[in-house]
Symmetry: D2
């Protein structure tokens, strides 16, 4: 990391479908009075400070909150969706996918496993098993030198959570950072990384509308680390066609 | 492999857009008088014999040659396309992707890197560099115990080929079986594997309409090996929700 | 798999340090009256039948039971050790490592994680956490199409087991087939594969001298599958130096 | 990276067997008047400046230049050896391996593929093909967002080099950053990463005593990037046995 990179703030957009919080569900409203996006943005602000420039985007906004100029100004996008996946337009999904290919990082959270954008980036069904009994989740670090695990205890203790269990139908991860166990005995690959084009992808399962997971200090730490990790790097110089004696074409 | 599996033929469908062969291109017609599909199907028949039950499907047929019943009766699908990618309907692509998730193997060949189905399964742009100067390609084995490399010399010598070069914008492969070099000095990850859902995916770049690559004995060997490798295995037993004391849901 | 390969039996050697069974430990003697090696060999014989030719080798035998001719006649070696790791001579470890490089498969079991041969093949410390409280282990399949998981329920239920927990200090596995959870909440990468030279390596943690894990039908299934998977394939043809116009040297 | 980490210099030790340079070989003496270690240390100093604190260690020094206190004060070790591998004592190799497990990074260069330490860390034979004809090497980036590739052109052009070719008998890399091609048509996985314990490992093949590769600006860039990448991170907090209600043991 050179001096210029250290000085530049990471431009973060926290996207939320924001349905549970706005339809009169008292439990959710009590846990997340500022929305799930508010809790996440607050945690990132606390930990990243001036290193990040954080904005929020909501599905109900024009173009699902992600017009081209917002995507263009985003280095890392966080995605929380659950029951509104189908309300995101294909055009917006195309836009986000193209941005990832061009280098934008994306953190897909919890029930976002079934979002259009995650299924697009993975190419698999992304199905899993679940049970909502408010049981204990332990999040174990299995890649102790990974930057996303920096300063994170192993395990993270989440007293009450929705269970997400294997088989989780995802491609073989580039890196498996976290594995979770649940009181019922299930296991889940809860923190996994991928690269798609020039963009880094991190899926992280802990987090639900019914539990205060996004107020948990260790979860904030993981998300802040992941924002730093997923921030795009400078584009690599590649030989251009006219620099090669034989030339070539791009396809 | 148990006795039952050994006895069952692998049901193979060789899909071809079949445009170059049918529009009066004399070079292609001379190299592939029976179509690219014919050359591939012939090679597989020679090597797999009774172990495979091979059919051909062409894009000009109803439902692009892949109605539901054909897909349902296919264990391994080979895909060759180049200039007709956009003529394959999204409905057919959905159908093929669902079949891969359910366990059908797929071998994507050469310019199929830009097919709808490959981009769907990869989630990345799948772009690459190319130059069509009929130059020498050497295909080196870097996973010498992989079943797809069985009986294959390292390198395979292809006297004249289109160059495909890095950067090839694909996800990190599960396994890199072959690496190619070209007379111009380029390198290419020419044989790579993935899993998507229960289906195995093999991308193999050697092969072009302008060169007799699909008549090459070593290329036939790779494709025959890959058919065996990609054939679906028996579904795994998984605990069902009612077998678990706490139960769960599928999402 | 061609006809010749199908017809050839896999030559299996089950190696055991055989200390717990022979020093008057009544619990172990009651669970494993024929030794741990006897239970494993019996399970493999039941499942593989004529497909395998199984012998047993014990540490107390000359050259730790593994003279050169035994290693030469072994396609797949199973390794169970615990408190006698240091009694295996370095010369025997050299011999086994060389055989793996040349294509012999090896299955390292349970406390074999700390054997000389496993640490040699891994290059890392192979340390882990453990607790011997006889607690429930669940072994979940996370690679449902892997041949080692064929016919194996997910999860395997082991009512009483020693806990092995992360962080397990191993290199990133080529494939993670099984993940285990324990009643205490721990997680463990319990079934992982590697390649070293031409040899395949499978580490599988379930199994202990104090519990009848090696009499468990599902564990037998995993071991039998792993024997098939790890059996060496035919050596690959490689271009020799005098076949290349420029020649080369081997280093 | 936080402010403290940014401010701390990486302590680098460049180790060289230093035989070719000191036995009257005029070619080597002309290319590397300050030794291979001098060329490497100079390049790192130019690029890393105050970010690195660089020292040199030579095999002829007491304890092969790596007494315990030197290893203890090293964050990243670079290793160049060729004809003196056997002159490094096993005790020193034990010490270096233990340091890697504890978090020290190591960059193994060129003919170091056959060093005791690299074979120890890999567990495989590390053999390869070679030909010393002074031919062109092109080093292509296939992981364009990897920090080791930052600012590196693709390909790097090395006009004259020793050829290193596949099959390179190494474990499957965690990441393949660079692939090289040679004028003779060979391919080589020339830049690959691993983790062993808490230590990061990077093998990089370009570089030879007979060619001025270690004066090449792009090679300096790769090595400088790799030093930053391999520097140890802060140790991760892990739950201790007495923090867990059931406790455990370490094995």
């Amino acid at each position: 990391m050179n001096a210029n990179e250290a000085a530049r703030s990471v431009r973060v957009t926290v996207w939320n479908e924001n349905i549970h919080e706005t339809r009169g569900d008292e439990l959710v409203a009590r846990i997340y009075p500022d929305g799930i996006h508010g809790a996440i943005a607050g945690g990132l602000t606390d930990l990243l400070g001036a290193d990040a420039d954080i904005r929020v985007a909501l599905m109900s906004q024009p173009e699902n909150g992600l017009p081209q100029y917002v995507v263009d100004e985003t280095d890392v996008l966080l995605w929380w969706g659950h029951i509104g996946h189908d309300q995101v337009s294909d055009e917006v999904v195309d836009r986000v996918q193209a941005a990832v290919h061009a280098g934008m990082g994306i953190l897909v959270l919890h029930s976002g496993h079934f979002s259009k954008i995650f299924k697009r980036l993975m190419g698999s069904s992304c199905s899993l098993k679940w049970r909502n009994d408010g049981e204990r989740e332990l999040v174990w670090t299995v890649a102790p030198t990974h930057p996303i695990a920096e300063g994170v205890p192993s395990p993270i203790l989440i007293p009450e959570q929705e269970m997400y269990g294997e088989y989780f139908d995802i491609p073989t991860p580039d890196e498996t950072v976290f594995l979770s166990t649940f009181a019922g005995g299930e296991v889940f690959r809860s923190g996994v990384t991928y690269t798609r084009g020039l963009g880094k992808v991190f899926y992280f399962s802990p987090g639900d509308q019914d539990f205060p997971v996004y107020h948990h200090a260790d979860i904030h730490r993981v998300l802040a680390n992941a924002v730093r990790w997923a921030a795009p790097v400078a584009p690599r110089r590649q030989l251009t066609a006219d620099q090669h004696p034989l030339g070539w074409f791009a396809a």
